[in-house]
């Protein structure tokens, strides 16, 4: 394993470091809030894993430049425009974007011949992982919110957020 191969995979090293940090915090911390923080770090590492995975070297954001879009709309009666319109936004509604992203790839492939002269020098990054992560982030936020809400209730009932103390209180009942 050469230095290049180690350094070239730096994104994975970051991911692994974050992942293990988060995982350790979740498992080792007895403070409920800290567990939640650990969980967040853990999840974030996965977001990074996905997003770096989607990045293509020298690729740009998958937005069809206006010049090509122009040609494309001549060629395919507005399909490109639709895709153009659809692709740039992203939301938690993974269903929508997921398909649209696929459609762009499809469109580009389908009309490859016509667009060849214009699009050969354009490399797009894969937008799909980012889109997926948007959904995952929403899930993460929901989890965090719920977890914090539970912690608030636990603290109201037990007066502490330390798991060991809580278990001791329970045992004392």
């Amino acid at each position: 394993m050469t230095f290049e191969s180690i350094a070239g995979l730096y994104n994975y090293w970051v991911v692994i470091f974050l992942m293990m940090t988060g995982f350790y915090i979740v498992l080792a911390r007895k403070n409920l809030i800290k567990s939640v923080i650990g969980l967040n770090i853990f999840q974030t590492s996965v977001f990074l894993l996905y997003i770096t995975m989607g990045k293509v070297e020298h690729g740009t954001a998958p937005i069809v430049p206006p010049a090509i879009a122009e040609q494309q709309s001549h060629a395919s009666h507005g399909v490109g425009e639709n895709a153009h319109a659809a692709i740039e936004h992203a939301d938690e509604a993974h269903e929508v974007v997921h398909e649209v992203a696929h459609e762009v790839a499809l469109t580009v492939a389908d009309h490859g011949g016509e667009l060849a002269h214009a699009s050969t020098e354009i490399i797009y990054s894969n937008p799909l992982p980012s889109v997926l992560m948007l959904t995952a982030i929403v899930v993460g936020i929901a989890t965090t919110a719920l977890a914090l809400a539970l912690v608030v209730r636990i603290r109201e009932d037990y007066g502490t957020v330390d798991e060991e103390l809580i278990l001791e209180l329970d045992r004392g009942e």
Partner: protein
């Protein structure tokens, strides 16, 4: 019109409860929300039964969301297996709702009723969605929808331990979900697609590169947490014990089963059994963990004095039986695993309902408070006895069917030591079931039990529906074991 509805069945199944949930919030009234939820859950049940019928005829029902053709768009894909699982999940969801109102009134503050029903519907949406979708990432999304709503539902329990149980479940569940997410990501990295059928076609099976192995490992561990396979089951006993009775009925009967469903899909739909069991030694490992889990959890169940916790440990053990069947990877073994998902859902749903009836009348699920309740609440107590017999696997009950199929498949594959261990383990079930039966029928009534009256009919009828079903499907199996066998054959790549 009918045709139009039939064409949209797969999505209706999801959209109905999904839309009903916000409607429950909009109406903001417990009773109206209940009625809405009841209607919708029965509609979803009807949808899934209709879809099961379709799959039995045509094997696969597809639905392309937004008319984007797969693998570019999301495809909902229902085969016999998913049809079977979603039919019993929605069916039990509906029956539990019939049972719910009195218990909910007893255990949850009135101001939260409409939110409870909304969350319940969301949980159902998630579970059904997992069965219906053919897209791997969608599985994750629906898994999290159902998990998040079940965390919330569990935290509604009466005691202060409920939020803590929910929190522990949340932490472990989220770790599991994140593992699944990692696995999905790695698979996507290898294949460039999220459609399960497409992944299956593209993933290199023979000597899979390390990425596939790692992806598979992450997915397996993640799903094992959700399934509560020993030793990743630690969240389950507390969660089932401290959740409101109705929630326990529903989650115990369905949630782990749907995770098992996802696991079966993973092994038989994406990673082929050849890769999982022949290239990798997953079958040996699954059998080992299942058997150890069965024994340890059953023994733990014997020592419980809280009946809900007893049943929870028994659930951990029963998951082991399902995995045993699945790891055989023969038509009989797989169908044993599948039919046990169904049978156990009926049995455990019924038993937790009985526990709920006692909780309502006696105000406790401690065994010591149940003493002699068989005299004042004979119908409820008899329901327990029948359900208990089914759990043991006595002939003429549903539990026997799955146990019998498991045994025959163990012999078919020449694994008779497993057969022996399985039979010995089912003796442990006799002990923990009979402990409760004796307390109910042959003890001097406790204070609470002496003054108790029979559980209300509105709870007894749904309880007996499930308990009766365990008897029915113990003698008449074309629609349980029969369908499970067809599903298993399809999963193994044959035609039924």
């Amino acid at each position: 019109m009918i045709d139009a509805i039939f064409a949209h069945l797969p999505i209706l199944l999801i959209v109905l409860p999904l839309m009903a949930a916000p409607c429950c919030v909009l109406v903001g009234n417990g009773r109206a929300a209940y009625l809405l939820a009841l209607v919708v859950s029965f509609a979803a049940f009807a949808c899934s039964v209709a879809m099961l019928g379709e799959t039995l005829q045509h094997h696969v029902v597809r639905y392309e969301l937004g008319n984007w053709s797969p693998p570019y768009g999301i495809e909902y894909r229902v085969d016999i297996f998913s049809g079977f699982v979603m039919a019993f999940v929605s069916g039990i969801g509906a029956i539990v709702l019939v049972y719910a109102p009195l218990s909910v009134r007893d255990e949850i503050p009135a101001s939260k009723h409409y939110l409870f029903y909304a969350t319940y519907l969301l949980c159902m949406t998630g579970l059904l969605g997992m069965c219906v979708t053919g897209d791997l990432f969608n599985v994750f999304v629906f898994l999290e929808i159902s998990s998040l709503s079940s965390y919330a539902l569990i935290s509604l329990g009466r005691t202060r331990r409920a939020p803590l149980a929910a929190f522990q479940y949340l932490i472990l569940g989220s770790i599991g979900a994140t593992f699944i997410l990692i696995g999905i990501g790695l698979l996507y990295q290898m294949t460039g697609t999220l459609n399960m059928a497409d992944i299956a076609a593209r993933v290199p099976h023979e000597h899979g590169p390390r990425t596939v192995l790692v992806a598979f490992a992450f997915l397996t561990v993640g799903l094992c947490v959700k399934m509560a396979v020993f030793p990743l089951h630690t969240w389950l006993p507390n969660a089932y014990t401290y959740a409101p009775s109705v929630v326990t009925c529903f989650i115990a009967a369905t949630a782990t089963k749907v995770s098992v469903y996802a696991f079966v899909r993973l092994i038989f739909g994406i990673i082929t059994p050849g890769f999982a069991f022949d290239v990798l030694p997953l079958d040996t490992e699954l059998m080992l963990f299942s058997l150890v889990g069965i024994f340890i959890a059953s023994i733990a169940a014997i020592y419980q004095n809280n009946v809900k916790r007893l049943l929870a440990y028994s659930s951990v053990a029963q998951i082991g039986y399902m995995l045993l069947g699945i790891s055989m990877a023969t038509p009989t073994g797989l169908s044993a695993g599948i039919v046990h998902m169904f049978n156990h859902a009926l049995i455990k749903g019924g038993l937790f309902m009985v526990a709920g009836c006692f909780a309502l009348r006696l105000g406790s699920v401690q065994l010591s408070d149940w003493k002699g309740a068989g005299r004042t609440m004979p119908l409820t107590a008899i329901a327990w006895a029948i359900g208990g017999l089914a759990l043991i696997g006595v002939p003429m009950t549903a539990g026997f069917i799955s146990k019998w199929l498991l045994l025959t498949s163990a012999f078919e594959t020449g694994r008779w030591p497993i057969a022996v261990l399985m039979l010995v383990s089912s003796l442990l079930a006799v002990v923990y079931v009979w402990k409760v039966v004796e307390t109910l029928f042959f003890s001097e009534p406790s204070e609470a039990a002496a003054g108790a009256t029979e559980a209300p009919l509105r709870m007894l009828i749904p309880t007996y529906l499930l308990i009766g079903a365990t008897l029915l499907f113990g003698v008449w199996t074309p629609y349980s074991a029969g369908i499970a066998r067809q599903a298993a054959i399809v999963l193994l790549g044959g035609t039924p």
